[in-house]
């Protein structure tokens, strides 16, 4: 191909063709279509997963929540519960599906608890593969899991054996974002220590968590670095509004003070939310180009197609 670079100014000047408008055309169609995103949350019961999801998306995804007692939990196996909510913001429609995994880590013997989860993720890949290979492809729904928040307990000394096994089993199937839950049970020092432990263990075991792509030229390099340096995010969630200095904010009221969810000095909630929403497109892309393609080529090789 002959390279002929032809730069023009942005006006109806003599050299202006107008295809620089293409991103706007794409944008218009995307806004019309809306977006889909599937987020999975995994972690032991009581780590604040549901509360965090509600805080993240300013919604109440679990209005009639039933919390089973310990005796019931003995018999429980891991369930997969998907809830979908449509969020609209400034004309942009997002169909968000949150896949919850109640029962994870509850059983006395949690040996097989992530099999169900792996099966669910594979099933979504399988369905997509089937739809993609079919005849009518106009309205394929993408239910593949684009991101998995894995909740690490703040009460331990780092990763538990179950955490390690889960992440090793799933890092080739889904983007894993590790999250330290209920961060308000830790002092700042304890938090740093725990984060470092977790990162060391992740590296020790060769676990591949989701990597933020490098900052583009016009993005804040420093901000991106700060975000990266905060992983795993230590977060707090809350469904309650508390009045602080005349403003209503989400928080947790203790006798010794108020923990503010959206205060970056109290926890990494905002960092997590920012990271998630500004990387939705990338998370989908990595799911499609890496995890799904791996699944697909394995499947096709196996069936000898």
């Amino acid at each position: 191909y002959i390279q002929s670079v032809f730069s023009c100014q942005f006006s109806d000047s003599a050299g202006y063709v107008g295809f620089a408008n293409l991103p706007n055309q794409v944008h218009r169609k995307s806004v019309k279509k809306g977006f889909e995103f599937t987020l999975m949350v995994v972690g032991e019961s009581g780590l604040g997963k549901s509360t965090l999801i509600n805080s993240l998306f300013l919604t109440d995804l679990y209005p009639e929540r039933y919390i089973p007692g310990a005796a019931e939990k003995i018999e429980r196996t891991v369930q997969i519960e998907a809830s979908t909510v449509e969020i609209e913001e400034r004309g942009v429609k997002l169909r968000l599906t949150v896949v919850d995994t109640p029962g994870y880590g509850d059983a006395i013997n949690s040996q097989d608890c992530f099999k169900t989860i792996i099966q669910y993720i594979d099933n979504q890949f399988e369905r997509y593969l089937h739809d993609e290979s079919g005849l009518n492809r106009r309205h394929i729904i993408d239910n593949r899991v684009h991101c998995c928040f894995y909740f690490i307990s703040p009460f331990g000394h780092g990763l538990k054996p179950l955490d390690v096994e889960f992440m090793k089993a799933l890092h080739g199937k889904v983007n894993i974002v590790p999250v330290i839950a209920k961060a308000d049970t830790l002092t700042l020092k304890e938090r740093e220590r725990l984060k470092r432990r977790v990162l060391d263990e992740i590296s020790e075991h060769g676990i591949r968590i989701y990597q933020l792509p490098d900052a583009d030229s016009d993005e804040d390099e420093e901000f991106k670095e700060q975000t990266r340096a905060s992983i795993p995010f230590a977060v707090i969630g809350s469904n309650q509004l508390i009045e602080v200095k005349g403003k209503k904010i989400r928080g947790r009221l203790y006798p010794w003070g108020v923990v503010e969810v959206e205060n970056p000095e109290h926890n990494d909630f905002l960092k997590l939310r920012t990271m998630l929403v500004t990387h939705m497109q990338d998370l989908q892309e990595v799911t499609q180009d890496l995890h799904y393609e791996n699944f697909r080529s394995e499947r096709l090789k196996r069936t000898g197609k």
Binding site: I2, C8, V17, Q25, V26, F57, L58, E86, M280, E293
Partner: protein, 350 residues
């Protein structure tokens, strides 16, 4: 699922209450501080910006084919459309070259950039079309070429280890040049468009429109539109693919009033009223290509490039390509065509 976030019984949906004043960049330039607006803003609308950035980064392919008898100004028009020397005319083609005995397909690629957006433009010329004494079936090599591009794409798509971005050589748009006789379409025009409108987006244009007066132009256009309709030829934008009322209203106007665009092309510049314009100089005046009172080139350009470029690609991909694919799968007993993992494929994915 319920629409809109719901706080609790007492609070209203907070996202809707927020008055957003400042523009939020893709990645905030500074860490977000606490302020009231954050209580209600999540930031999912930034996904639009993320997609836009992606489009800008990856650039895009656009493949345009020109069909029509020799001498109708096809190459000049394409050069005018893209304000670059991108056609066959500009890559070593000699005007005195003999007309080929059969239809040839010549694809020429260029990378052009504008406003940070990179386009890999391929112009596919079809010299020899309609130029013979006996032009029977002269559209066949063209149809074959178009289908070959679909086949190429399909093969890559069903590959086990497939490329992240499948190279797109499919024809997104076919400009069909109608001779400005002022009478009607010719039988060859009808035959071509009948066959090809089923496999590719056809945009008919009336060439060398400066040979007609305004009245002649209007009448000719009406007659051509009528003939196309009577013969059941669905040119782009096809009625059945209008996605919603907004599209339909916009496209109806184009279909019923503007098309076929009566165009004039030129790659020569002249000074008119202190401005440099593209045009044709005659003893009786200068025909300004981009002047809407002179010809409809600007309408064609805006239509193809500024408003419907993405749609042309989408209709090609979602409709024409899918039709081809479905037929191939059905012919093959519902299975995708067999691909052998060649050395070339394997290496390109390492």
């Amino acid at each position: 699922p319920h629409v809109g976030p719901v706080e609790s019984k007492n609070e209203a949906a907070m996202s809707e209450l927020v008055p957003e004043a400042r523009q939020k960049p893709v990645v905030p330039m500074k860490p977000m501080g606490i302020n009231a607006s954050l209580l209600g803003y999540i930031g999912i609308d930034t996904i639009i910006e993320q997609m836009r950035k992606k489009t800008m980064k990856t650039g895009f392919d656009f493949n345009i084919m020109v069909v029509g008898q020799s001498g109708l100004g096809k190459s000049t028009l394409v050069n005018t459309l893209f304000k670059s020397q991108v056609s066959r005319k500009s890559s070593g083609w000699n005007r005195e070259e003999k007309i080929p005995k059969t239809v040839e397909i010549k694809a020429i690629g260029h990378v052009i950039e504008e406003g940070g957006v990179k386009m890999k433009l391929t112009v596919i010329d079809t010299p020899g079309f309609g130029d013979q004494i006996n032009n029977e079936n002269c559209w066949e090599p063209i149809e074959k070429y178009i289908n070959e591009q679909y086949e190429k794409f399909l093969k890559e798509e069903v590959n086990i280890a497939r490329k992240k971005r499948i190279p797109d050589t499919r024809v997104h748009c076919c400009l069909y040049f109608i001779s400005p006789t002022g009478h009607s379409l010719r039988p060859l025009d009808l035959e071509f468009m009948k066959h090809l409108s089923k496999v590719v987006n056809i945009i008919p244009v009336i060439a060398k429109a400066d040979t007609m007066t305004l009245e002649e132009k209007t009448e000719f256009k009406q007659r051509v539109r009528k003939e196309l309709e009577v013969n059941g030829i669905e040119f782009y934008p096809q009625k059945e693919f209008d996605e919603d009322l907004e599209d339909k209203t916009e496209n109806d106007k184009i279909r019923q009033e503007s098309m076929p665009f009566a165009v004039v092309g030129s790659d020569k510049e002249y000074q008119v009223n202190g401005k440099r314009v593209l045009g044709r100089k005659t003893p009786w005046g200068i025909i300004e290509v981009e002047n809407l009172t002179h010809c409809e080139f600007a309408l064609l350009r805006d239509f193809v490039i500024r408003t419907h470029l993405q749609d042309l690609k989408e209709v090609t991909h979602n409709i024409h390509y899918e039709t081809y694919r479905a037929k191939r799968l059905n012919d093959n007993g519902g299975l995708p065509p067999m691909t052998v993992e060649t050395e070339e494929n394997h290496e390109s994915n390492l």
